[in-house]
Every structure is written in structure tokens, then in C-alpha cells.
Symmetry: C2
Subunit: 344 residues, 2 copies
């Protein structure tokens, strides 16, 4: 495997000149450049990026640390990241934490050893101690960090996320406008900012409508179909029984729909369902759920762009906190309460 030295010899120049040609750095005469390029081609030269990275301390690598790439939301985010990164000659390493801070910590160590230039982090426990430490550990080694989707408090770091409060409020307002007065809230783990914010958006909408927030109607759990199933069963088994559900994430909604079906309830006839996060159009033949859609691709793309900007040297710029709006898409899983079979 040819080295830069061999190319230099063949072109009759010094290695450094070859380096300058290949990296487009410094001035090289057109004729010299041509000779170098010819020599490189003849030798089938493949630059050794390891040596390059080692020497220059720049790996041209981003890491995307998500909870589970299997969730279509993260998949779409990932695609946005990859497209932007690839466009700027960066590669992306993917990591799944499964919402596990310990696993997140291991990944952070690995990424530190690897000297990745930037990390896009979806904190496993955004409101906990460990995620903040992870960010600080990364930043201490000059790794550019962008916090994705969730908020971490008490640390100066760029962040990109969807408007959880706004989206939840939109959906709840929509349900209220349809006449629903008893609205169940399915949500996630309490240590995540998105849970807190979405429940908060839900509560805000109720209060703005002059309604009291009934804690019995708010469930917490995991952002999974199983948890959505459990939470829904709990809500169905108690009084007051809701005429509509707000699901704080797509998987929760899937579980809710299963529980409703098992209980012999139909959506939207017996129960309206409004959901945070859409499913990609290619997954569903007949879009059905009323959702607050986050711009998943754009979130990923923006986060990558932000990280790359810092990596290119925008160190002095002020911290960026990007909150992208959600889009309310009314489909057929929600309907007027007055027409619902249960009489609300």
C-alpha cells in the first residue's frame, strides 16, 4: 500500500508537497499539483486517514448516541445526521443506550478514546446527574457536543429539540376543542425532560381551558408499546374514565391501541387518541392517527450542522438552543366528544 513518501518520490517532490496537494492546503503550482496527482493515481494511492487523524487530531467523525435506533423517530433523525455529515466528509458512528445511563457512560468513554470530533447526544437520563457528567467529560476533551431532543440543565451546550410543550398543548387543545373534558395522559419516564414538558403542555392546555388537572389521569412509565398498554389499562380501570387519550410518544400510542382493542373499544368512536410523534409515511398504508409531528429529519440535520460548525471553529459563538415547532396533523383517531358512544 503506497505511502505519501512513495508518491513524493515518483513525482519528484517532497512528501509535504504531496500532503499539500491532497489536502488543498497551502500553495502549490499547477504543474507540481498535476505531477503529484498523476503519481498518486499511478500508484493507486489511498490516503491513510489514520495517520492523518493521528497527526492532526481530527477524525472527521461524529457520533450519534440515541436510545434505540429501532424507533422510527431516531431512524429518521439518524438519516438527517448522516446526510449532513456525509455532505461534509464526515462519518457517523451510531450508539444505542437503551435509555441506560451506564451504557451511555461506556459509549462516552469509547468515543473519548476514539477522539471523535463531535457527539450528538440524546441523554439517557436527561434530568439526572450522569448525562450532565457525560457532556462535561466530552467537553473537557474539546469534543463538540450537541444535546438532541432532551434538555440537560446546568451545562453550557448547544441543543436541538422539538417543541414538546407546544406539541402537547396543541394536541390537548385539539381534544378540548372536540369537546373532551376527561383526557388521559400516557407518558414516559420522569427523569426525561420530554416527559415533564409534554405532561406540562397537556396540563397547560387544561388549565387554559379552565379545567383542573386531575393527577389520576396522568400516568408515567416507559416510552414503549408495553408501557402504553399497561398505562391504558390502568386508566380504563378507574374512574373517571377518559373519553380521549393523549399519548406522549408513538410507541405509547401503539400500546394504547392494543389495550383499547382488547377492551373492545374502538378509536375514535369510543376513545379519541392524539399522539406525539408521527410515523413515517412509508410505514403506514392509511395514516390514521392525529399527531403532533416533530421534524425528525430536520432535527438530526440541524444537530449535525451545529456540531460541524463548532468543529470548523465557531468556538466563540454563543450557545445555540434550537427548538423546532411541531406540526399538528389531524387525522381520524380523534373526533367530537359529543358523538362518542360513551356519551360525553
Amino acid at each position: 500500500m503506497a505511502t505519501i513518501r512513495e508518491v513524493a518520490k515518483r513525482a519528484g517532490v517532497a512528501p509535504i508537497t504531496v500532503s499539500r496537494v491532497l489536502n488543498n492546503s497551502g500553495y502549490v503550482q499547477a504543474a507540481t499539483r498535476a505531477r503529484v496527482e498523476e503519481a498518486a493515481a499511478e500508484l493507486n494511492y489511498v490516503p491513510n486517514m489514520l495517520a492523518h487523524s493521528f497527526r492532526s487530531n481530527r477524525t472527521h467523525t461524529l457520533a450519534l448516541v440515541v436510545t434505540d435506533i429501532t424507533n422510527p423517530f431516531w431512524t429518521t433523525v439518524a438519516r438527517g445526521v448522516e446526510d449532513v455529515a456525509n455532505g461534509q466528509n464526515f462519518n457517523v458512528i451510531f450508539c444505542n443506550t437503551d435509555e441506560n445511563p451506564a451504557k451511555q457512560g461506556q459509549y462516552v468513554d469509547m468515543l473519548l478514546r476514539r477522539r471523535v470530533d463531535g457527539v450528538l447526544l440524546v441523554p439517557a437520563d436527561s434530568l439526572g446527574e450522569e448525562s450532565r457528567q457525560a457532556v462535561e467529560a466530552l467537553q473537557a476533551q474539546q469534543v463538540k457536543v450537541v444535546v438532541l431532543d432532551r434538555r440537560i440543565d446546568g451545562v453550557a451546550v448547544d441543543s436541538v429539540r422539538g417543541d414538546s410543550v407546544g406539541g402537547a398543548r396543541q394536541l390537548t387543545e385539539h381534544l378540548l376543542a372536540l369537546g373532551h373534558r376527561v383526557i388521559g395522559c400516557l407518558s414516559g419516564p420522569t427523569n426525561l425532560s420530554v416527559t415533564v414538558e409534554r405532561v406540562s403542555g397537556y396540563s397547560q392546555a387544561l388549565q387554559a381551558a379552565g379545567l383542573a388537572v386531575d393527577e389520576r389521569l396522568i400516568r408515567y412509565g416507559a416510552f414503549t408499546a408495553e408501557s402504553g398498554h399497561t398505562q391504558t389499562r390502568e386508566l380504563l380501570g378507574q374512574a373517571p374514565r377518559p373519553s380521549a387519550l393523549f399519548a406522549a410518544n408513538n410507541f405509547l400510542a401503539i400500546g394504547a391501541m392494543r389495550a383499547l382493542r382488547e377492551a373492545g373499544l374502538r378509536t375514535p368512536d369510543d376513545m379519541s387518541l392524539a399522539v406525539f410523534d408521527d410515523l413515517p409515511a412509508s410505514y403506514v398504508a392509511e395514516p390514521f392517527l392525529t399527531v403532533a409531528a416533530q421534524p425528525a429529519y430536520e432535527l438530526g440535520a440541524a444537530a449535525a450542522a451545529l456540531a460541524l460548525r463548532r468543529i470548523r471553529g465557531a468556538e466563540e459563538q454563543p450557545i445555540v438552543e434550537l427548538v423546532l415547532p411541531t406540526q399538528l396533523i389531524v387525522r381520524v383517531s380523534t373526533r367530537l366528544a359529543i358523538t362518542a358512544k360513551n356519551g360525553y
Copy 2:
């Protein structure tokens, strides 16, 4: 940032001893080891994997080159890859080719420069020239390649894929057993082995049942919802009109369902639908489609394991060609032809 030299100085040993401790290579006395570890901890030492990789020519990195990570099938494969890789201290770089051989070529160049240890490649044009060249270019630089999902002929390379022929035959036999005699076939690009094999499985089942293969019933296109939509409309607009459809991939089925709905046809009452590839359970509230499910996670895991095995030095082992069986899951999108409204 502390180096191995500083750790060595602090521990009163030579750098190489520190290296041996950190890499668990060679013998080191327990006491020495303890001192080194203590020194490393005190200095908050983070090994420089760049230097390590550069020197040892091993990056501990795998690349997964798929067509589009946004397809839930690839997402699941990716998860399998990542889990196995991470378990052996490897990281994974993801690349999307969008079925574009040129993009694939660019990625291969990049991965070559990066000196990744292994590449799991879903060839963009498996039956074309460029994918074979990509594999050969990689192998020429000692990169371990595993071809995923699709077949590339004429090159000695490990491969892992689902049983396309068998799965397609299973589904078609199922439709035949239900009494369907005119079965449409929606399929993908002709330059992919999976297209050829799935159409072949479809044809085999027909022939085994003593039926002629009617070319008018076989459509080709892209593995997308849009194409499934188009292909279905074409089939609906011609004679003989099928009473059942076989879709060679999940996205095709989504498009087919849309086209059927637009045409006022219901599944399975007016048209049975059997599909290659399942959707992950967490995406669908009510699993509906009769499918031949590929073990997506296992495919990814097996491919990663195979690559890692080669990387660990199983150079001399014979070429492995792993074909994992599909599982027929009969749900409610297929039914007896005799009961169908169109009178078959």
C-alpha cells in the same frame, strides 16, 4: 491530555509496560500492574485510540453499508450489527447508498481511507459490475467483507441473507392453498438478486401447482411505496385481474394497500395480500399482513459475527454463505379465494 509516557513516568516503568497493562498483552507483575493502573487513574488517562489504530493498523471499526437506514428492515439489521459489534468493542459506521452504485463507490473509497476492519455491504446493484468491484477493492486492502441480504456472483466473499426463494414460495403456496389462481407479483429492480429470487420463488410455486407463469402478472419497479402503488394500479387495470397479490417487500405492500383502497377494494375481502418482510411489532397496533418474516436482527448479528471472526484471524476458513429461513406468519390480509367478492 495525558500520554502513555506520562503514566509510565508516574508509575516508574517504561511506556511499553503501560501499554501491556492497558491492552492486557504480555506478562506484567500484579504489583506493577497495580501501580500503572493507579497512575493512569490519577492522571485521568484516556488512551489515544488513534495512535493505537495507526500503529497497529486495526481500527476496531465496522461499516454497515445499507440502502436506506430508514427502512425498518435495515434498522433492525443495524441494531443486530451494533449489538454484536459493541459486545466485542467495535464501533459501527453507517452509510446509506440509496441504491446508488456511485454513492456506494464513494463510501467504499472513504472506508478504505479510514482503514475500517470490516464492511457489511448491502450491494446497491448486486447483479451489476460495480458492487463486485467494490468488494474486490475492499478485499484487496485486507478489509473483511460480508455481503448482506443480496447475492453478488463471481467473487469469493462471506455472505448472509434471508431465503428469498423459499419465502416467496411459501407465500405463493399459501395463496394457492387458499384457492387463488391469478396472483399478481409486485417486485423490485431487476438488478438485485432479491428481486430475481423472489420472483423465482413465486414462479416455482405456481409451476409446482401445475400453473403457467403469466408474465403479465409480474411487475418490476423499485422497493418503495410509490412503486408498489404504481405496480398495483397497472395490475388492476389489466386482464386477467388477480384475486391476490404477492408483494416482494414491505414498502411495496404499503403502496399496494393504498392503491387498493383508492380503487375501492378491501383487503382481504376483495384482494388477498401476502408480503415479503414483516414490520416490527412496535410499529403496528394490530398486525394485519400475512408475511414471510426475515430474521432481520439475526441477519445483522450473524453478519457482524462473521466479519469479526475473520478480523480475529479466521483467514483460512472456507467462505461462508449463510441463508437464514423466513417464517410464514399468516394473519388477516389473506383469505380463501372462494369467499372473495370477485367470485374466484
